[in-house]
């Protein structure tokens, strides 16, 4: 029982993620990939004459259902299988009375060096898996909210269709099939991510959190 509530080590979860590839192939003859759901949402919801979005998205409903499943899975795991709330009542009380002293296994499992870095970035609240000082409805209409949520989301959506996939479609599915396109894209993900994490994010937090 304790094991179910703790975070699982990477050598358990990594292979489980990798198993999505054969499971989707065998159960539905589908290629693992999540970002393509963004394109289907465009095709389904935004009226457009653009041929890029003119296709029968209904044939790809499976992908949207898969995405919906991820939301449900996230809800189930967070509420019933993470050691932070109902199961640990004293922690839950602390969380209600003062968020900053909340114990969050997702934060405590980090390398101390990383926690020190986040502290120097000005991040003191970490009850959620994404810091609530940045990712919160109250922050949304501020410049910080614009950069991290709106611009960040735009870049993710734009970059992923441009590259032809995301971490699942390229880095996992694509590299699994030894595709050169996916290796180039994954190199790109890391180049962009390194620039973002070393320069852009610390710079923005310097402006907004201090």
């Amino acid at each position: 029982m304790q094991f179910l509530l703790q975070p699982w080590p990477w050598y358990v979860t990594g292979p489980l993620i990798g198993l999505m590839v054969p499971l989707l192939l065998i159960f539905g003859n589908k290629a693992f990939g999540i970002s393509v759901s963004l394109k289907h949402i465009c095709a389904a919801c935004i009226p457009s004459k653009n041929p890029f979005f003119k296709y029968d998205w209904r044939k790809e409903t499976w992908n949207l259902v898969f995405a919906l499943g991820i939301v449900i899975g996230g809800f189930l795991a967070w509420n019933f299988a993470v050691l932070h709330n109902k199961t640990e009542s004293h922690v839950a009380q602390n969380c209600v009375t003062g968020k900053s002293i909340c114990t969050n296994p997702i934060y405590n499992g980090l390398n101390p060096e990383a926690r020190l870095m986040f502290k120097t970035w000005g991040i003191t609240e970490h009850y959620q898996a994404a810091p609530e000082q940045i990712f919160d409805w109250n922050v949304l209409v501020t410049p910080m909210g614009f950069f991290f949520m709106v611009l960040g989301g735009l870049l993710v959506g734009f970059g992923t269709v441009y590259a032809g996939g995301c971490t699942s479609g390229h880095s996992i599915m694509g590299i699994s099939q030894l595709s050169p396109a996916s290796m180039i894209a994954t190199a790109g993900f890391f180049i962009g991510g390194l620039i973002s994490s070393w320069f852009i994010v610390p710079f923005l937090l310097e402006q907004f959190l201090k």
Binding site: G18, W62, F66, F147, M149, A163, G192
Partner: protein, 137 residues
């Protein structure tokens, strides 16, 4: 009813995203600062498992449960698009701390403001569609 299996696989994936902590903004930045092996081990072992699976499926010509041959469509190589798109995606990945899988997961875990991130990502995809012809591919 055919869709139920995809819902179940999605639920499994969402649970794994939480239990692996791959949906955490903190883990992503820890990874980009090379402070922990966690994310590298996670991605590496996921790729290794996927690779062996694809190899086995091809080698033994394994059929899908409906009896069809399994078709693995090759990813189209357009190196400019793969690289430039990849870099743009990476910039956003660092800001939001989430690629599309974790965006859906975070919404489920109650960080509901990620609905806005999802909406922005859909807009980003739409903007790409509009500019596609003018971009290098």
């Amino acid at each position: 009813m055919k869709l139920i299996k995809f819902l179940i696989l999605g639920i499994c994936f969402g649970i794994i995203m939480v239990k692996s902590e791959a949906f955490s903004w903190f883990r992503i930045h820890e990874m980009f600062h090379f402070q922990s092996f966690h994310m590298y081990g996670l991605l590496g072992s996921a790729i290794a498992t996927g690779m062996v699976s694809v190899w086995l499926i091809k080698k033994f010509n394994i059929k899908s449960i409906s009896g069809d041959s399994i078709l693995i469509k090759p990813k189209e190589l357009k190196w400019k698009a793969n690289l430039l798109g990849g870099i743009i995606f990476g910039l956003g990945w660092g800001l939001t701390g989430a690629c599309p899988g974790p965006i859906y997961t975070l919404i489920g875990t109650g960080v509901t403001v990620f609905i806005v991130v999802l909406f922005a990502a859909v807009m980003g995809t739409f903007i790409y569609g509009a500019l596609k012809k003018r971009l290098p591919h």
